[in-house]
């Protein structure tokens, strides 16, 4: 009788997929990250620092304040437990943002596993709208960034089981951070009225994000690097391909190069229909994998067919179906995704976006279960 230990995490599975191979036994899982409320619901334990500003927490620990140390150790261990108990072969290290901002709107959360408030970006207001704001902004210091990253990395690495690797996630992407700091409306105006300010914004942000990529990729327990940089709507990118090529892609390319320098793969998450710039992302930016898909506009099955011979395709189980589909329909849908994306390898199963607190846990866990059974590859040796 054949026995496959499909529950045991082994980063070799995902590593194979990122190199466009078939994994050793079953389809691996990939998600950008899981919301704290989901981690708590699955592990039945509490994340003690879930709503804390982790950048400030880490900074105060480094200054000798030991109040948070135990909580940090506990939370890292709990995150590892969440990912590995479900069968992920890696653990996400969410790098906290070093870019403080106040242009955030708080609103009631209506998710099933709701949090006290849901935060939204204020697109009409930026913390940097002028040259004067730019000069006064507390741009982060790279050596402090490094110390904070290493504190978090080392804490996580200490708890890491054998054969599991860390995938750090940058605190937003290059374009995202520029848009978040400026607000989309002021940013769009500045593109016309003060191009130099926008260029300087990309330089400042790009320098920091690419530095995170470098210091992450250097670490022994880092198996790959991920960056989320949402660039579009359902119909296409926020910005014209020309502007993306001029201002955004060169910095994203720098991020990828800093990871490739250490022989590690780069996972790129971006929401939006990016067909018009996919060739740029593959050939110029140099991404190894694409994540974030939506059935109504940029379905994973289509991307696998179009780009699956050059980059790995990750996730893609539609968020709407994860959140609302009846279980029996959802099971058939996930099987269909596997049927169409798994052949040939280079594919990992996961949510179309993140394991958000608004997905139905019943559906999410069904996806994991189906992946472990129906996602088994042909056996090479009996």
């Amino acid at each position: 009788m054949l026995y496959m230990d499909v529950d045991k995490p082994d980063f070799e599975r995902l590593y194979a997929v990122l190199h466009l191979e078939e994994p050793m036994d079953r389809i691996p899982f990939y998600d950008l990250f899981a919301d704290p409320e989901v981690i708590e619901a699955i592990t039945r334990d509490e994340l003690k620092l879930k709503y804390a500003d982790m950048y400030s927490v880490a900074r105060s620990i480094l200054k000798g304040d030991s109040r948070y140390l135990q909580a940090l150790e506990h939370d890292m261990a709990l995150q590892i437990k969440f990912y590995t108990s479900l069968g992920y072969d890696y653990v996400v290290l969410q790098i906290p943002s070093p870019f403080p901002r106040t242009n955030i709107i708080l609103a009631e959360d209506v998710a099933p596993l709701k949090r006290p408030k849901r935060s939204w970006q204020d697109e009409y207001r930026g913390v940097i709208e002028s040259r004067d704001d730019f000069e006064k902004y507390p741009w982060p210091d790279l050596s402090e960034i490094q110390d904070i990253f290493l504190l978090l990395y080392n804490t996580m690495a200490r708890h890491l089981p054998e054969n599991v690797m860390i995938i750090p996630l940058t605190p937003g992407g290059v374009l995202e951070n520029v848009m978040w700091l400026m607000g989309f409306v002021p940013f769009s105006k500045a593109l016309r009225r003060d191009r130099k300010l926008v260029e300087d914004m990309f330089r400042q942000v790009g320098k920091v994000i690419s530095f995170f990529c470098k210091i992450s990729a250097e670490q022994e327990k880092v198996g790959a690097m991920s960056m989320g940089d949402d660039m579009g709507y359902k119909k296409g990118p926020f910005l014209s391909p020309e502007i993306l090529r001029e201002l955004v892609f060169p910095w994203q390319r720098e991020c990828v190069a800093n990871v490739h320098r250490y022989g590690k793969p780069f996972i790129f998450h971006s929401c939006g229909n990016l067909r018009i710039v996919m060739e740029d992302l593959i050939n110029y930016v140099g991404i190894d994998a694409k994540h974030s898909f939506e059935d109504t506009s940029y379905p994973v099955t289509e991307y696998k067919e179009l780009y699956g011979d050059r980059i790995a395709i990750l996730g893609g189980v539609d968020m709407d179906k994860l959140s609302r589909a009846p279980l029996d329909e959802f099971v058939e849908y996930v099987k269909d995704v596997i049927r169409r994306c798994a052949p040939g390898g280079g594919y990992a199963l996961g949510c179309g976006n993140t394991v958000a607190n608004y997905v139905k846990l019943e559906n999410y866990l069904a996806m994991i279960r189906i992946g472990k059974k129906y996602g088994r590859y042909p056996v090479k040796r009996w």
């Binding site: 054949l2 590593y15 190199h19 191979e21 198996g223 052949p343 059974k373 042909p378 056996v379």
Partner: protein, 95 residues
Amino acid sequence: MGKKKLLQGIVVDIIKTDEYRVDEEGSKWFKCIFIVELTRFSKRVREEMPRDLKNARVEVVRWCSYDWHFRKGVRITLTEEETDRVLQSLKSQSR
């Protein structure tokens, strides 16, 4: 994980045999012969496949169970042993 050299190809044909095994959940896995047309080395190594192997056809054994296992025209990755065997045979042919 490593920089192991693995050959890749396209599945051009699958011959399903009657031989099967049963897994721990009771599913049957049938022994199949996959006919593979070689195309390249996997991305793990940034190395070109020897020109003599381009479009060469090899046979490998796979045990299949689910419908999607039988899809032709898709990429397949040879194991390290299968890759070594192909490369060795190429060497002995060229002697």
